[in-house]
Symmetry: C2
Subunit: 173 residues, 2 copies
């Protein structure tokens, strides 16, 4: 059982995004119990000059769909980045997972020959694997963890298990 | 150029840990400018019931050396987890990078057949790749991001570039 880039992107980012969806559902339940508007979470920030919660979710999902699109050549869904509700963020996560899961092992063939460039670093590119390992994966978890931290520090009862999501534990005989 | 598990662990975790060392050096410079004891960072927490900064660094390094040890069968350096200074944490990061870099491509052969279990989940295990993708990588970045957030929210001028570390950008002709 060799691993594949499909597993690192489509399988693992989906697992994490479903964990993230679970975090948002816990935030919703928390707001309901405390009787405040659940959409207030969207503007929370760790520091005044860091992006708010809504943007952390936008970047997390963009990172996942962007990695899948850049390494398969498929076209990712485009979001308007205008979410104002928790419900809209949950839909965004779900649509991202759908896109990830629409990619197959075969779609990633030749990913190592693809190059990835960004408007903020003109005239330079990363090769497929370097992009995945040194940019896409750490950046994805950076923003997902920041979203987690915002909920955790607001009193929402979330833990590492929620962050990691459903794992393939094998029961020993 | 196919990627390898050695690249995901030894190369990428080293890159990130050197980024983390850079973050600590920025924290040191910040404390120097503001004239406070740099070791005060070690007890910072995001929330009262989350681990302090010192423990975030301990877990980040443990995650990296643990992944390399579990998937190669090599013995990782053991740390006493008694750091009280930023200097000691920097040394811990450096020793972890040394261990990661002492592992070779060949050491990871057969990693997919290895199983990984933890005392907190008795009677169950994860297979090599599932352990790496669904546990070791997200957990590593979870704790590294939490350490970053503690510095960022304390006013240390750190940014995404510090977090990602040195990347293999290729200049276009």
């Amino acid at each position: 059982m060799k691993h594949s880039v499909h597993d690192l992107i489509a399988v693992q980012f989906s697992r994490s995004l479903l964990g993230l969806k679970g975090l948002l559902l816990k935030a919703r339940a928390h707001a309901e119990t405390r009787k405040f508007d659940e959409n207030l979470f969207l503007q929370l920030r760790v520091a005044p000059d860091m992006f708010p919660f809504v943007k952390q979710i936008q970047i997390t999902t963009d990172g996942a769909k962007g990695a899948a699109a850049r390494l398969t050549g498929k076209t990712a869904p485009v979001f308007a980045d205008n979410e104002t509700t928790l419900t809209q963020l949950i839909e965004r996560i779900e649509r991202t997972v759908e896109f990830l899961q629409s990619t197959s092992e075969k779609d990633y063939e030749g990913y190592e020959l693809r190059t990835v460039s960004f408007p903020w670093n003109p005239g330079k590119h990363l090769q497929g694997f370097d992009y995945l390992s040194s940019h896409a994966i750490p950046n994805f978890y950076f923003h997902m963890t920041t979203a987690y931290t915002l909920l955790r520090s607001s009193g929402v009862e979330v833990g590492k298990g929620d962050f990691l999501g459903e794992q393939n534990w094998i029961k020993e005989a």
